[in-house]
Symmetry: C2
DNA sequence: CGACTGATTGACTGCCCTCAAATAGGGTGG
DNA sequence: CCACCCTATTTGAGGGCAGTCAATCAGTCG
């Protein structure tokens, strides 16, 4: 479950990690913040925070990848957005009045986190006002991206939503190949992310494949003409 | 367009107004905050803030009623939520880096606001940390309600969404009558709020009317059996 | 070589949107 | 009081997008 790390080991913050949560903090402030964090390893499919549980921890992704989900009343999992290195979650732990998490977070790849318990996080936020400013910025970013998702869900066709997911996935998790951009994604994941039926995804991908826009194999997609997709929405 | 008000007139804050924005502030802090606000009257259908414009003002609703909308890519207006007395909007003005508003706000009834420009609002937030804490609470509330709206849109039928809008409207804007709860709402408004077609609303209401759940007249609805509706979702 | 998971394809269904046309309420001016 | 207009609402017919279900095929791993 992780262990406390002393200030000495706080050099463990990768130089390459830019986090909006720690943006604008002085080196000594960052050191102080990391000194009270514990590290936690994460592995695929692990649930990092569960919707409805009390918001007890604030986390920062150092490496790996995770995703926000919201559980609908009929029990389906609704994909909301990715969480990449540098992103924070569990921001509800910074609220003055303790509340439940409103989303579920699933780890998708091996990686590690910094985790603060609520009390420490609140103490830090009081000492370092910039920290709360940053949390506010991140929260407002969530508002924007949720509003976008809502607009997309309300006004776009299944085809458009799938196209969008493909293009964004290519940007976020894709690797350049000679023939295009390749990324790992099963039809089922795609269906969750675009919020459409599994079969609809399959049919749509088949069509695009026959048009030469992409090539698919089991669990992988090679996007050959991203522009022809992004022009669809 | 409003005018600056001195500290002396800050007694104008209605005693009955409880605002999450000002929660936990001392009386003298509240006085200081209101001293730099200007008052603004609002009238129905006035656009109070426009999606995409630079977030330049923070506002607090004193009286009246307004609504958040998001404009979809195909030009429709997507209802997001009500704003009632005590609610704040334009929270983007408190962000460190200036950004555009991500939503449009329409006034729906006569009323008035307190408005702060970005510079004053930021200055106040720095002087009074509680203010930023409160803004953070409100922002997180927006996240929660948007996530709920998304889940509702994704998993509920048109009928369920209409039922939900009716019940919530009854709670928020309804007046008790001998035969039930009455509130003003046209089919078109209802359609926007539930994000369904105008005709679907009409048909559904007709059905419920024939079941005795409600009575409708032009622009008004009398909800007779709210429980039978809320049990539908 | 099974066993299992992922993907495909077709047939069918149904919810809800679109469009057209008619009806009704409510206010205004003569 | 009535004629008129504008807007809100109704009702029906038709269609399409995408979901459901069933059966089959394909890739991967032990």
């Amino acid at each position: 479950m992780g262990r406390p790390v002393g200030a000495a080991s706080s050099a463990a913050l990768p130089r390459s990690l830019r986090s909006r949560l720690l943006e604008g903090l002085t080196p000594s402030e960052i050191e102080a913040v990391l000194a009270v964090a514990r590290r936690q390893r994460i592995s695929p499919n692990e649930v990092l925070q569960h919707e409805g549980d009390t918001a007890s921890h604030l986390s920062l992704v150092v490496t790996g990848r995770a995703a926000f989900y919201k559980t609908t009343t009929d029990g389906r999992k609704l994909f909301l957005r990715w969480i990449a290195p540098g992103d924070a979650f569990g921001l509800g732990a910074l609220l003055q009045i303790q509340q439940p998490y409103f989303m579920t977070i699933h780890a998708k790849r091996e990686g590690c986190l910094f985790v603060w318990d609520r009390v420490s996080a609140q103490a830090l936020a009081s000492q370092i006002p910039q920290l709360r400013k940053n949390a506010y910025t991140i929260a407002s970013d969530y508002v924007a991206s949720l509003a976008d998702a809502l607009a997309a869900r309300a006004s776009q066709s299944a085809q458009q939503r799938i196209a969008r997911v493909l293009v964004e996935s290519a940007r976020h998790t894709g690797r350049a190949r000679s023939k295009g951009i390749e990324f790992a994604l099963t039809n089922e994941e795609l269906a969750q992310m675009a919020d459409v039926n599994l079969f609809t995804v399959s049919r749509q991908l088949s069509e695009w494949q026959s048009q030469g826009i992409l090539t698919k194999s089991r669990g992988k997609i090679l996007l050959r003409a991203a522009k022809r997709l992004s022009s669809q929405y």
